[in-house]
Amino acid sequence: MKKKTSRKRPAVNRIYYIYVGILAVLFFTFHTIPFLKGVMYSFTDWRGYGDWNFVGLRNYIHMFSDADTGNAYLFTFKFAVITTILVNVISLILACALNAKIKFKNTIKAFYFLPYMLGSLIVGFIFNYIFANLIPQLGKGLGIKALSVNILGTNNAIWGIIAVSLWIGCAFNTLIYIAGLQSIDTDVYEAADLDGATGFRRFSKITFPLLAPSFTINMVLSAKGYLMVYDQIMAMTEGGPGTSTTSIAVLIYKKGFGGGQFAYQSANAVMLFIVVVLISVFQLRVLEKREEKLG
């Protein structure tokens, strides 16, 4: 019986299998194998070169008593939560503004999208200059003490990095929100108009719920991205002053390659992977439930 039904199914063009096959092979060799190797090394005492032995769970157990790792996780979570929330709030406001019938809309959109096309390293270096030279001069000119020092050399270095991350991140998130806004049927708005819903009420009751799918994507992708933050920090503070802006990814790089702790930091990387997956799955569950309710 089964054979018969499968024969009846229209034949799938082989070209799809070839496409998927090639990509699967490439993905497996360049992504999955290195990943699995990394997982394997996390159970060894490999320093990045030379001989190694399996040491079981030693690396993972050590992680819980290592203050550096703890601090890096604290910093990363703080950074990720603040930045994810801010980037979504700002992008949403921007998208709504850009979706309104204003003049020079496309030009302004282009401006907002520009940061996304620059590499975050380059943006980091540019802001490094701005924070070190321009802002302190401005602060001194205006007599504001808090602004007259390089923020990256103080306790507030995290805010400097957040500001830059927002500047880079808003572009992409805004784009998704604009796409979401454009897919909302104008009939809905007309109906809302007739019912007298305007301004913030219209946003909270109609626009925002209908943006739910875009919101889900943005929340998940930005949370994932900011939990793995690396390039902005390397360009701006290299984890300093002290270790106050050392994110997990920065710690893994610095200690793993520079400090000869390759295996230990592989364990850390595996841990980060698990944490990111758990958080993403959790977010997806919660946000998709919300979508269903609204839908």
């Binding site: 070169y49 070190a132 050399g153 103080t154 300093g240 002053p241 002290g242």
Partner: protein, 424 residues
């Protein structure tokens, strides 16, 4: 519509991931043979000496027609070298510092023993000893040949010292007196560039050999002593110096600070001879000189901090070991050694090759007399990131933490982090 966006996104992120994933490993093989005979790779961990190395290499290439030497000097070279060691993709010749990066390469058995070569006898023993000291188990074999050495201390603006009639301080008390005199005259006595955390190590490296117990590094490694109880004076003096730093010293980068110093915005800076080149590049009229950091009130204790800045090593498994050895021998010829140190304001490890430049005249005599101490951080384990700890201490200082509390916290941290890093 939404499905489409999701799909595009997913594909986009996948592709982006693949691209970044591939970026790191796109270096070509090192031992590629050119059409014109053999090609050797010289890996240098020092970005500042690339030009002069190139000149020397060109000179070597002229006389050896069938050989070409290619220089690799990437950013963050120590890390790159270790990564390449992981891939078993070593260059033929390395030119690197006599520091813990060297120890890692040497202890992994990557270098050829050059003790039997003729030129070893032309090298100053004190520097050869420094290389032995950082060999695994202090083995007395020349896996690396000391080539150029550096000096760290106080670099000062000669014009400003003359203007205020200041004598070179020989003791800590005199040093503080000089600083106060400059400050009273409205000058910025000390410039600090702690945005780049490594520069915060310079005063430490200058003070620790003068003030810490002489056997500290060996004892600490064996767990017989601790930073707590031996380094209090150093930290106290370190914090004292911060009182005289400019505003926002945590926010100034090394590059910007060098420009500021070159333009006469400060009288002194604690750094090393490697920075002098940078000052003169921004202001060729600047007159600078150097003196040994007077950390102690006992003049005899105030050493010039001088370490092996560049040593040359030949890698095992190099297909062209003989040619690589010949290149090292070429580099150590007095004429070539001289050429190198003149360009770099450095000192030579080759006997009889002296630095005659005025910009470092103040420490020349001490170096010739062997009144030198190696950089203490060359003996610390490589996972021990002291600069981050010092930078944290300085941050606490700017936040107004009590000095006593700051010191205790810092020293306790030093011991804790040292123990974590001190594993074989």
């Amino acid at each position: 519509m939404n499905k489409k966006i999701v799909c595009t996104l997913m594909v986009g992120t996948l592709l982006a991931g693949m691209l970044t994933g591939c970026g790191g490993s796109s270096e070509g093989g090192s031992s590629a043979k050119g059409s014109k005979g053999t090609e050797l790779e010289l890996f240098s961990t020092k970005a500042e000496n690339k030009d002069i190395l190139q000149k020397l290499v060109d000179k070597f290439n002229e006389t050896h027609e069938d050989v070409t030497i290619k220089i690799t000097a990437p950013a963050d070279a120590g890390t790159v070298l270790k990564t390449r060691m992981a891939k078993n993709d070593m260059p033929d010749i390395v030119a690197m510092g006599g520091d813990n990066n060297y120890t890692e390469v040497e202890s992994a058995g990557m270098l050829v023993d050059l003790s039997g070569e003729d030129y070893i006898s032309t090298v100053q023993e004190s520097y050869l000893q420094m290389v032995y000291d950082v060999n695994k188990d202090k083995e007395e074999k020349a896996y690396g040949v000391p080539y150029a050495t550096n000096a760290s201390g106080v670099i000062y603006n000669v014009d400003k010292f003359e203007e205020y009639g200041i004598e070179i301080p020989k003791t800590w008390d005199e040093f503080i007196a000089v600083i106060e005199k400059l400050q009273d005259a409205g000058e910025q006595p000390l410039l600090m560039t702690y945005k780049d955390a490594w520069t915060s190590l310079c005063p430490w490296n200058s003070m620790a050999p003068d003030l810490a117990p002489t056997t500290f590094n060996d004892d600490r490694k064996a767990g017989k002593t601790t930073f707590v109880g031996t380094h209090e004076e150093i930290v106290e003096k370190y914090l004292k110096l911060l009182d005289y730093a400019q505003d926002d010293f945590m926010g100034l980068t090394y590059d910007d600070g060098n420009k500021a110093f070159a333009n006469g915005e400060a009288a002194m800076i604690v750094n090393g001879n490697w920075a002098i080149n940078q000052y003169l590049n921004s202001n060729s009229d600047l007159k600078v000189n150097m003196f040994a950091f007077p950390a102690s009130n006992d003049e005899a204790q105030n050493y010039v901090t001088s370490g092996v800045d560049v040593l040359l090593g030949v890698c095992k498994d190099s297909a062209n070991e003989e040619m690589a050895k010949e290149f090292v021998s070429f580099m150590l010829e007095p004429e070539n050694a001289k050429m190198y140190i003149e360009d770099q304001f450095a000192f030579s490890a080759v006997k009889g090759v002296e630095q005659e430049n005025e910009t470092v005249a103040g420490v020349k005599e001490d170096i010739a007399n062997g009144k030198v101490a190696n950089f203490p951080d060359h003996y610390y384990p490589s996972g021990f990131d002291l600069s981050a700890l010092i930078s944290e201490m300085c941050l606490n200082y700017t936040n107004g933490m009590d000095n006593e509390e700051n010191m205790n916290q810092f020293l306790a941290q030093c011991d804790e982090k040292y123990d974590i890093a001190n594993v074989d």
